[in-house]
């Protein structure tokens, strides 16, 4: 079989090889470069999207946190207010109750004093009467004579008054 010389220029061979290179360029472009490039772009877009999503989520979380903190502080204030008002009410009630109690105690004391005074008066009265009766009887018996009742009564009254004064 025939061989070419080591250096032999043939225009058609050159042309064919040129066309081959162009053909291969088209093949590589269509079947290797473009799909890989497209995939890379897709991946980049995907990653960018994920990053922006994450950023968005982070911003949202920060916003939420802020609003929660606001709410929390508002709730704190409200709670403080409630406690304050409760304390105020309690103090007012306390004063009221104490005043009430004082009033009642005073009432009780006054009543007790009045009762005691009344009892003293009653006792004085009954003692006086008894003494009068007894002394009347005794005097009648001792003297065996009539003493005017009025004189006697006056005498006894003054006596008892003296006694009562001494007691008091």
């Amino acid at each position: 079989m025939q061989s070419l010389d080591i250096i032999s220029v043939n225009i058609w061979q050159i042309l064919v090889s040129l066309i081959n290179l162009v053909l291969l360029f088209l093949i590589v472009k269509k079947f290797l470069y473009k799909p890989v490039k497209k995939m890379l772009v897709d991946r980049q877009a995907n990653i960018d999207k994920k990053y922006s999503d994450a950023e968005e989520a982070r911003n949202k979380a920060l916003e939420d946190q802020k609003s929660y903190e606001e709410k929390l502080s508002a709730a704190q204030e409200e709670a403080d207010g409630v406690i304050q008002s409760a304390v105020d009410t309690a103090k007012a009630r306390e004063k009221e109750i104490i005043a009430d109690a004082k009033q009642k105690a005073e009432g009780i004391v006054t009543k007790a004093e009045n009762d005691a005074k009344l009892a003293i008066l009653k006792a004085e009265d009954s003692i006086r009467r008894e003494i009068i009766d007894v002394s009347t009887v005794l005097t009648e018996k001792v003297l065996e004579r009539e003493i005017s009742e009025d004189d006697h009564k006056n005498f006894i009254d003054s006596f008892i008054d003296n006694i009562g004064d001494g007691d008091e």
Binding site: L18, N20, P35, V36
Partner: protein, 298 residues
């Protein structure tokens, strides 16, 4: 998820289609090339000659082999991008991304952003050149050691260089030949023509010299082994002892390293020449002028 049966079958078809053209070339070589003794260095074998104007259209070994490389690379591309997805599911995707990103980076570095569309072209040049040179690993005739094949690429590159030079305006292009002084005109023209010629001959010469040296060393090693073992009786005397292993080591340099190196150099020079010939400022000026003219006409 993507490793179902259909996917695997398509994968296997791609791999088989990648291997088939090379197997075809090997079979063709075995059928048409009887084993020869001694040193024989010749060009590509001629399979068919078709009469055409100017010169006969020759279908030679290098044409067939380069067509086979074309088919192999085509299926290689298909295989690499098969099952491509956002999330990396296949190991081959790393390689595909590596190729694309490296070449993109190379172009950005050497040519600038204006030429970013050149990535597939550079990948094509590199792949075609490297695969063609690596065919010699299969004991096939590497198409890159045929001046016609490499010459075709160089002429295409030259056309591109001239196209980008003309973008700065025809007058600018012609004026460029008389710089810095008019006397330099013949030298400049020579330099312009020398670009594709040097591109083609550098690549072609390197690959061919690799094959020549491989043949010479192989023959020499055969001679040495027959000399050393000549005292042995019978067929043992002609046992090619030194031809075992040593040519394989040398072929790592002459076939693999040199082949890939030349592919890279060819691509690199293509990039530098195309972007170097392009005068961005003149192009911008010209475009501005055109736009102004168009505005005036309106």
């Amino acid at each position: 998820m993507k490793t179902n049966l259909k996917f695997k079958i398509i994968d296997i078809i791609y791999i088989v289609m990648m291997a088939l053209p090379i197997a075809f070339s090997i079979v063709l070589k075995v059928l048409t090339n009887p084993p020869s003794e001694g040193i024989s260095i010749s060009g590509a074998k001629i399979f068919l000659e078709i009469p055409m104007p100017l010169q006969n259209f020759i279908i030679s070994e290098s044409q067939i082999n380069s067509a086979m490389v074309l088919i192999t690379i085509f299926f290689f591309c298909l295989y690499m991008t098969h099952g491509l997805s956002d999330k990396i599911e296949l190991k081959r995707q790393h390689f595909a991304e590596l190729i694309v990103e490296k070449v993109d980076g190379l172009i950005k570095e050497n040519m600038g952003d204006y030429f970013s569309g050149y990535a597939p072209f550079i990948i094509a040049i590199m792949a075609l050149s490297a695969f063609s040179s690596l065919l010699s690993l299969f004991a096939l005739y590497p198409p890159t050691s045929d001046i016609n094949i490499v010459g075709g690429w160089a002429i295409l590159v030259f056309a591109l260089i001239t196209y980008y030079k003309l973008k700065g305006g025809l007058l600018n292009y012609l004026k460029g030949f008389t710089e810095p002084i008019f006397v330099m005109l013949p030298l400049n023209i020579l330099g312009e023509v020398a670009t594709p010629v040097s591109l083609a001959f550098r690549h072609y010469g390197n690959v061919l010299s690799g094959s020549v040296i491989a043949v010479l060393i192989s023959a020499a090693l055969g001679g040495v082994s027959s000399m050393v073992l000549s005292w042995l009786p019978g067929t043992l005397a002609s046992f090619p002892l030194f031809q075992v292993g040593i040519p394989a080591v040398l072929s790592i340099y002459f076939d693999v390293f040199s082949g890939c190196m030349q592919a890279f150099i060819f691509a690199m020079l293509t990039m530098l020449n195309i972007s170097g010939g392009f005068d961005m400022e003149a192009f911008e000026k010209r475009r501005l002028k055109k736009a102004q003219k168009a505005l005036k006409n309106k």
